[in-house]
């Protein structure tokens, strides 16, 4: 599904965010990226969703080098990748439902399907009563869940999640993880960047540790 070969990312003037990362993530895998703040977790996710381009190396998704994708093909790839951003990227003057629907509207899903999917996701994340609430009026924890709902709404083949539990209590964290596990069981590849060890401590999935932009270790995973 995802191949990274000696991928580096530098920001001017001389900040090295990632250095020589080589990695393969299989189809339907749940993969954790951990590390302290500034380790390069968010940068890695930004590269995977083609929000930013690497300074060096090769990134392939489903066998296609994403640096070469443009226009329609890039848009199609992005439709297949759901991203829950650390800074949420919500339209704060729109309702919760409108924010979630946006990812399905771009792939021209029928209004009835969108409506049903939005209600379903809000139920699963404990936000059923926030359907028509303007997202600017939600708490940070609620906004975080709306972001996650938007990321999974279009049933993407890959879901990238940046710090999904940063603002959540234990019960809500469990809800979020249940949703992600459900998506994973449905076949989606999930990449979760986090420093919350409660969500990966007892996991059987692979966990990659980044330190100062370098791959420190990969542990776990079934043999």
């Amino acid at each position: 599904m995802v191949e990274l070969i000696k991928v580096s990312k530098e920001y001017p003037p001389d900040v090295v965010a990632l250095k020589d990362i080589s990695l393969s993530i299989g189809v339907g895998e749940m993969f954790f990226v951990i590390g302290m703040s500034g380790a390069g977790k968010t940068t890695l996710l930004k590269l995977l969703c083609s929000m930013e381009m690497p300074s060096g190396g090769l990134i392939e998704i489903s066998g296609k080098p994403i640096a070469q994708l443009r226009g329609y093909h890039l848009a199609r790839l992005r439709q297949k990748i759901g991203v829950a951003y650390q800074d949420f990227k919500l339209l704060t003057d729109r309702t919760t439902a409108e924010n979630i629907a946006i990812s399905m509207e771009v792939s021209y899903k029928k209004p009835a399907i969108i409506k049903k999917r939005v209600r379903d996701l809000l139920d699963q994340l404990g936000l059923a009563d926030k359907h028509d609430t303007i997202t600017g009026e939600l708490s940070r924890g609620e906004q975080q869940r709306v972001t996650l709902a938007r990321a999974v709404a279009n049933s993407p083949t890959m879901i990238l999640v940046d710090e999904p539990t940063g603002n959540l209590d234990a019960i809500t964290t469990e809800r979020v993880m249940n949703l992600l596990n459900k998506c994973n069981k449905a076949g989606a590849t999930i990449v979760i960047a986090t420093h919350d060890d409660s969500i990966y401590r007892h996991t059987s999935h692979r966990v990659m540790e980044l330190r100062r932009g370098r791959l420190q270790a990969i542990s776990g995973g079934l043999p």
């Binding site: 226009g71 329609y72 848009a75 199609r76 790839l77 992005r78 990748i81 946006i102 771009v106």
Partner: protein, 295 residues
């Protein structure tokens, strides 16, 4: 959900969010079209009127003596040497007297004490239809005035010159208002679309990230420009038509306007003005997108 349904929803949302600036642009486009179409209408009518007058244009060459048949033929030869003419007609003193008396109508008795040969003989020259520019008529008149035995040449110089200068002035105004139309429509639409783009920067960024295609993002902006063009120009033309009808109604009856026989644009011309405005607005919208919409 179809592409067009989604796009139309986006357009509706944009219009709702930026209705103030959209309305201002719409009014500016309408006003520009109205000003341009107004002067064009006057100009077109003046040109039509000028052509009608030109059909009746004739030069009167007053002669010292009544020419005999031989001299008449010589004069015809001389006149046609300058250019082909439609008609040359000699008017004797007696004929001139009769014509004048006819024109006086009931007051013809004022001529009772006058000798019947007090009016000079003349030649009425009707130039060909292609001899229409003021300079050509002037040159022809100068040529005729140099013919032997000519007293004076008349063709309503003052009136023709004034009319010619007036239509020239009108053509400049039409040109200026046309430029105004082009500039205002392109710039105002471009400015409004730019405001919309800047106001929706976050949304556009997000649309891009969730996989919206370029067409999905751009088409609503293009449609906005198109709509501004359709509604703005139609409003301008309809307002002018209403104004035209009001003037016609208000000033109907014997008077100045009846001499002119004012007519409105043909449907084809009206449609052309609307189409050009739509094109300009779309162009304004497109140019802004190229500049400010980085996808």
């Amino acid at each position: 959900m179809s592409f067009w349904f989604t796009v139309m929803r986006q357009v509706g949302r944009n219009l709702r969010q930026t209705w103030g600036s959209q309305l201002m642009t719409l009014l500016t486009v309408s006003l520009s079209v109205l000003i341009f179409a107004f002067f064009s209408l006057i100009y077109t009518n003046m040109i039509n009127f000028g052509e009608k007058l030109g059909d009746d244009l004739s030069l009167i060459v007053y002669l010292e003596e009544e020419p005999g048949p031989e001299l008449q033929q010589q004069l015809i030869n001389k006149i046609t040497t300058f250019d082909e003419v439609e008609k040359v007609r000699f008017i004797s003193r007696a004929e001139a007297y009769e014509r004048f008396a006819r024109q006086l109508g009931e007051n013809r008795d004022v001529l009772d004490d006058m000798p019947k040969d007090f009016l000079p003989p003349s030649i009425e020259v009707v130039p060909l239809k292609n001899l229409r520019s003021l300079n050509q008529v002037k040159l022809f008149s100068a040529y005729l005035s140099r013919l032997p035995g000519t007293l004076k040449v008349q063709y309503g110089q003052d009136w023709v010159e004034r009319f010619y200068h007036f239509t020239r002035l009108l053509s400049i105004i039409v040109l200026l208002s046309g430029t105004l139309l082009i500039l205002t429509t392109i710039f105002m639409v471009a400015y409004t679309i730019r405001l919309t783009i800047l106001g929706r920067q976050a949304e556009l960024e997000l649309l891009k990230l969730v996989g919206a295609t370029n067409n999905y993002i751009r088409t609503p902006f293009l449609l906005e420009g198109l709509l501004q063009g359709i509604v703005g120009s139609s409003l301008g033309i309809v307002s002018l038509y209403a104004l035209f009808q009001w003037i016609k109604l208000r000033f109907s009856g014997p008077g100045f306007l009846n001499v002119f026989e004012f007519s409105f644009f043909s449907p084809a011309v009206s449609l052309s003005i609307v189409c050009v405005s739509i094109l300009l607005c779309t162009l304004g919208s497109y140019s802004t997108m190229q500049k400010f919409l980085r996808i």
